[in-house]
Symmetry: C2
């Protein structure tokens, strides 16, 4: 295993030449650092024509957006590569391809996706990808089914739970989703206009009880190998394609967490649209988001049910009707986790452009209030929202 | 680490002399093999007066009651010793003391409990230990609370889940509790008089759906370090004392599984008593069992609640009212698992003396039918039985 050192742009080019497995590796001559996330170095590796051919991603031993004062395990690079490889085995069409990885250097080479665009940005511009939600549902069903007890042998599953034990990254989620926003915490971040709404949230003991239950399920329910951070900024889209990246939060957790995070980010866009686009475009975009959410769930549940009917290996879980019963629980979990995503992205440490780039302050605060209200409604009403149609109705009623 | 070899009686004496830590080790001169269980060699190590001073327990690399055709991991000896040490840290008064263990030899030396009696045998004779149920509830609360996310740091908890990964022993439970009894399987064992009842059970798709959900929770819900096999044959009692032994099924699972197994074994005695004792003694014994079950739950829930109020470290789970909400779910889980214990002990591979030693065939079958009926009722009605009083009422109505 190689000893860790931070790669320079020149190192990254050299590394890609050696390990990317390109037949014309010598044409790689330049690297462009494009890491705009919170955690890593990301180099596009360019050839003589300036075409990006592969991406070299390296984990830094601290949280990039905070600095060296917040150290963070390099093991997340191994977890990310191994999660993507596991997901790629079951859904290659929607998982970024890992060409090489090295745990010692915390580095991974992945396919270049420059021809695609980050879904969050496209959504903010009102650009519609009618296949994307269905494709994401397909990705979630295939990856989560095949890493669950429906499909994995119980010995293999237990070994995988150990291989994907990810305590430091999980703790970030445990803190940022379920703890910080519900009490006074330095990492929380919101404008004074939200003070009253936040105080109301933080003194709502029924809400905090429901959030405790969601956190406890996140801590205990090892249902499948989650992506763990499946927001619209971790998803590349093109006209007919979708690829998921950034799996460093991968671990065995509740399936509803991935579903809820994905739906939550579509709803964050729903909340932000009136501040991002003119009224007719915003209204159109909102309808598309609701349709996206319905299609995501239908695609996920439909594919999961089909896979369960055809490929369940556990004789007890193969009982007719069990997959449907289980999916009902996943749905309830998903609505709750979706609510926590809306809240933590509005008042916690890590915000989203869908809300924060609304330039008009009054409109921005209105969008943020909407996200908080909708988040709280979802957490409290999750057990009573029976299906996607009922969810649409609740959202149209304003959360 | 020592290479594995099966100990002879003489080896066991020698081993105890060396490693039991007795100041008068040289007085140990004899060993009596008393293993009446399914899995292990168990030697009482005697001194010159014939007094048993310590117990040497060694795992065999196969299932003893079946033979070398069913191999079984020796790692269960390490898991057992480490589970007992972990439980002993939080409840020394009710956990057998481990004096020494060696993973390579799959051997453990534990304190001698010859002055106490196996609870199952005492119950079959109609002997009442009025402290036992409360003490067992205390053991369950202290061991399960302190190994749960209420108390353990999330990093420590995840490491412990790995340390106590116990795939082979868990698979025994997964198969014997949740799969075999609900379909035709060679390992099932029951008399022809039960054919009709078994056929009815195995064609009950609602029941099988509920059992699938219980199995799925057993596979996924890592709530605390369970004993994993806490039946009345794993419990020593004396007038004012109770000690738990035999923790080779230890793993991180749903708390309700331990509670349900414990209650289930008290109910197996309840079902068997009319065949074991004369009518007045049986009636008295049954009332004592119902009282035991109520006291076990009250002791468990009361202590868990107190520990949660005083010692919860997770800031979200510390929310007032959360422990109570969680215990309601544990109760529901426990009733379901209790039902599966009643059924699998009646028609599966491993039976209990409470039913099997009833000598009159017609009475034995009546007791067994009762256990099946009660088991099914508990699995199906678990979500609707609100508390111990409601459970008593259901049981008195005949299951």
């Amino acid at each position: 295993m190689s000893a860790y050192r931070t790669l320079t742009a020149a190192d990254a080019v050299d590394y890609a030449r050696r390990y990317a497995g390109l037949s014309d590796a010598e044409t790689l001559i330049n690297a462009e650092e494009v890491g705009d996330g919170n955690l890593n170095l990301v180099f596009k590796i360019l050839d003589g024509q300036g075409v990006s051919r592969v991406v070299v991603k390296q984990a830094l031993p601290y949280v990039r957006c905070v600095g060296e004062s917040w150290p963070l395990t390099l093991d997340r690079a191994r977890i990310e590569a191994e999660t993507l490889l596991a997901h790629g085995r079951y859904c290659p069409q929607h998982t970024v391809r890992v060409l090489h990885h090295n745990a010692g250097l915390a580095v991974m080479i992945q396919e270049d996706l420059s021809s695609m665009a980050i879904w969050r940005r496209e959504l903010a511009y009102g650009r519609y990808y009618p296949q994307a939600a269905r494709q994401l549902g397909e990705y979630l069903a295939r990856t989560l089914f095949h890493t669950s007890d429906f499909y994995q042998h119980p010995h293999e599953k237990k070994a995988e739970v150990g291989r994907f034990s990810n305590p430091e990254m999980c703790q970030i989620t445990e803190d940022l989703f379920f703890t910080d926003p519900y009490g006074s915490h330095d990492r929380n971040s919101y404008e004074p206009a939200l003070d009253e709404a936040v105080a109301s949230l933080q003194s709502d003991s029924d809400l905090k009880l429901a959030v405790a239950a969601l956190k406890h399920r996140f801590l205990t329910k090892a249902e499948a190998l989650l992506h763990g951070d499946i927001h619209t900024g971790s998803i590349f889209v093109a006209e007919d394609r979708l690829k998921v990246i950034d799996a460093e939060f991968g671990y065995y957790g509740p399936i509803g967490f991935d579903i809820g995070t994905a739906i939550g980010n579509l709803l964050l866009n729903y909340c932000g649209l009136p501040g991002l686009l003119g009224p007719p475009e915003a209204a159109t975009g909102r309808e598309q988001r609701l349709q996206d959410i319905g299609e995501l769930w239908q695609a996920f549940a439909g594919r999961f049910r089909t896979l369960a009917a055809e490929n369940t290996r556990d004789p007890a879980l193969a009982e007719s009707g069990y997959a449907g019963y289980f999916l009902r629980q996943v749905w309830t979990d998903a609505l709750g986790y979706c609510g926590t995503e809306l809240i933590r992205r509005t008042i916690g440490l890590a915000h989203v452009a869908d809300l924060d780039t609304v330039t008009d302050a009054a409109m921005r605060h209105k969008c943020q209030h909407h996200a908080l209200k909708l988040g709280k409604m979802l957490i409290m009403s999750a057990p009573h929202i029976d299906d996607a149609a009922a969810l649409m109705a609740c959202i149209r009623q304003g959360g």
